[in-house]
């Protein structure tokens, strides 16, 4: 069983001082799949993701990567197994796409070995995989939001890791580019079998792309599993505090959450105003 998990946690507790954000959490991220963390704002899903990438030290418990506890692994070795793209990263003004992607090779370099053919190839293939080859000489800050995010993803790809963690990779992107980025990540998962773990805000997109959804609520995992099995109106209400109907996504066949709300053209009188609130 152990080798089926890319990352796992044992009674992980995260927080700042007395304020606990995640408590006694046991989690196993399946290898080669797309796992998505969902939950309301401030539920700790980003914090959990950051801790998996050792950006935040656990208060208690441990995180295991490929059978090793990450607290005892050299940080560069972790960086060769696991890449993280933080939420809305900022490149220094004037940095080109190529310069950015090259930084992804940092974990493979040391004082003696500065730049190898292997580094060069990893950078070229990362640019190709993200469709950024043409834009390699452009400045990152001159790109559109979607292109910029592609450039950052290219950097994490250059890191050449089995596992990629992404903290809300679609924030601030319009719908076209959200789909564009998620399709790209899906392709990477399908063709290169990379394990992808990400935090997503959009529940319906999460259902489309995730093999495995982890719903986080009240410092714990509320439920986890395949989207088809776990996404129900009860779960959405418990996790997001939102009343909704769950139907079938007409394109992907995955669960589609349609919230109740106010609006000018309410149908379905049978649900009455009591539910509409």
């Amino acid at each position: 069983m152990e080798e089926m998990d890319a990352i796992s946690t044992n009674s992980l507790t995260l927080g700042y001082g007395e304020a606990k954000i995640i408590e006694e959490l046991d989690l196993a991220i399946p290898k080669g799949e797309i796992t998505v963390f969902i939950g309301s704002n401030g539920c700790g899903k980003s914090t959990l993701l950051r801790s998996l990438a050792r950006l935040l030290k656990p208060q208690k418990g441990s995180i295991v990567l490929d059978g090793n506890e990450i607290a005892h692994m050299p940080t560069k070795k972790i960086a060769r197994n696991l890449a993280i793209l933080p939420q809305s990263p900022t490149a220094p003004e004037g940095l080109t796409v190529l310069q950015l992607v090259k930084q992804g090779r940092y974990p493979y370099q040391n004082w003696l070995q500065q730049w190898s053919n292997e580094d060069e190839n990893a950078v070229i293939s990362a640019l190709q995989a993200t469709g950024m080859s043409e834009l390699a000489e452009r400045k990152v800050d001159s790109l559109s939001g979607g292109q910029r995010q592609r450039a950052w993803i290219a950097m994490t790809l250059a890191q050449d890791t089995d596992i990629i963690l992404l903290d809300e990779p679609t924030t601030y992107l319009d719908m076209t580019h959200q789909i564009d980025i998620l399709d790209l990540l899906y392709d990477l998962n399908q063709t290169e079998h990379r394990t992808i773990v990400m935090v997503l805000h959009d529940l319906n997109l999460a259902c489309r792309y995730a093999d495995h959804i982890v719903a986080i609520q009240d410092k714990q995992i509320y439920k986890q599993g395949e989207p088809d099995e776990i996404i129900t109106p009860e779960l959405v209400h418990a996790v997001f505090g939102l009343r909704c109907q769950v139907t079938c996504d007409p394109i992907c066949g995955t669960p589609l959450c349609v919230p109740f709300s106010k609006g000018r053209h309410l149908k379905g009188v049978n649900h009455g105003k009591s539910l509409v609130r």
Partner: protein
């Protein structure tokens, strides 16, 4: 901007040659007319004449000190701007110069210390204390270290140490004359011993600064990205801070608090060679040396036969530039 790496090398070599030209100019220009021949004679056929003494005891130390101090302040500024992700960071703005000066002034006026060796350590200690205080103040609170908190902490500490220094000087007027010219920042009237005793620290600082250029490139993409790439960011920060203490503390010990070089030069270097710290740092060093040499030569001509403290000259050159950067920073 210079793009290809061989043109950057050529630029660097031209810069180093210019430093030699400027140093030569610094030796022969000034109130006492000196010819190149006299400079050579002063080495090979020293005759104790006024000119020879001036060359050996004043002009040459002054040229070497201006070059070394200018390079050190500029590199310290480049490191600080890189480590803090803050375009306004520099030894003078963040109070490092003020902190180092304060301890030196206390040493001179309260404890009558005149030994160069001791004053040097006081300057290092003052720089260290300032860096620690500014870092701690700037990182208080849950969101950790932010550029704005660091700048505020730095400005406050700079103001604090400057007023404390003034307080010490009013209490002890005897020390005033001794210290005043030094406090305005000057490379004139310093003995060469002062430079030779600090030079090993400068040299270490310069070489290490060039080595950590690559680490600073990674760090400049933000803490999370740098950590994610496997960088031990705290280690890089501490190492960088130690270099700043060596370079800025050493510079203050030799020449007093000279402002503006640390803030202006890294920006000019960035404008010339882009955002790669492996180039910004050596270019900062070369340009810093050139600026201080130039300012020091200029300082001799403004109110001849007297001299303006070189710190005033760099302020003249630097202030308009400082305002330009501050405005650009705010507009973004």
């Amino acid at each position: 901007m210079i793009k290809s790496s061989w043109t950057k090398w050529i630029g660097l070599i031209i810069g180093v040659l210019l430093i030699i030209v400027f140093m030569w100019a610094s030796v022969i220009l000034g109130l006492t007319k000196i010819s190149t021949q006299m400079v050579f004679d002063s080495f090979y056929q020293f005759d104790g004449s006024n000119e020879h003494i001036i060359i050996q005891d004043t002009r040459i130390p002054r040229a070497l000190i201006a070059g070394a101090v200018g390079a050190s302040l500029a590199i310290a500024g480049a490191i600080m701007q890189g480590l803090t992700n803050n375009p306004l960071a520099s030894p003078s703005v963040f109070g490092v110069n003020a902190g180092a000066s304060f301890l030196v002034v206390v040493g001179i006026s309260f404890f009558g210390i005149t030994s160069l060796g001791t004053l040097k350590w006081l300057a290092f200690l003052g720089a260290l204390i300032t860096v620690v205080i500014v870092y701690v103040l700037g990182s208080l609170g849950r969101d950790g270290i932010t550029p704005i908190k660091l700048t505020l902490a730095g400005a406050a500490i700079a103001a604090l140490f400057s007023s404390l220094t003034q307080g010490v000087l009013t209490l002890n007027e005897q020390a005033l004359d001794q210290v005043l010219f030094w406090l305005a920042g000057s490379v004139q009237g310093r003995e060469l011993e002062l430079l030779t005793s600090v030079f090993p620290y400068f040299l270490t600082g310069w070489l290490c600064a060039i080595i950590i250029g690559r680490q600073m490139n990674v760090l400049s993409m933000g803490d999370d990205v740098a950590k994610g790439l496997g960088q031990r960011t705290l280690l890089v920060r501490i190492f960088g801070a130690v270099l700043v203490i060596l370079l800025a503390g050493g510079a203050v010990a030799v020449a007093g608090p000279i402002g503006f070089i640390g803030i202006v030069i890294p920006h000019i270097a960035r404008w010339l060679v882009g955002i790669d710290y492996r180039w910004i740092i050596p270019y900062s060093g070369v340009l810093g040396a050139l600026l201080l040499l130039f300012a020091d030569i200029g300082a001799r001509y403004i109110i001849m036969p007297s001299e303006v403290p070189v710190g005033v000259m760099t302020a003249f050159i630097g202030t308009p530039f400082f305002i330009y950067i501050a405005r650009r920073g705010i507009n973004e």
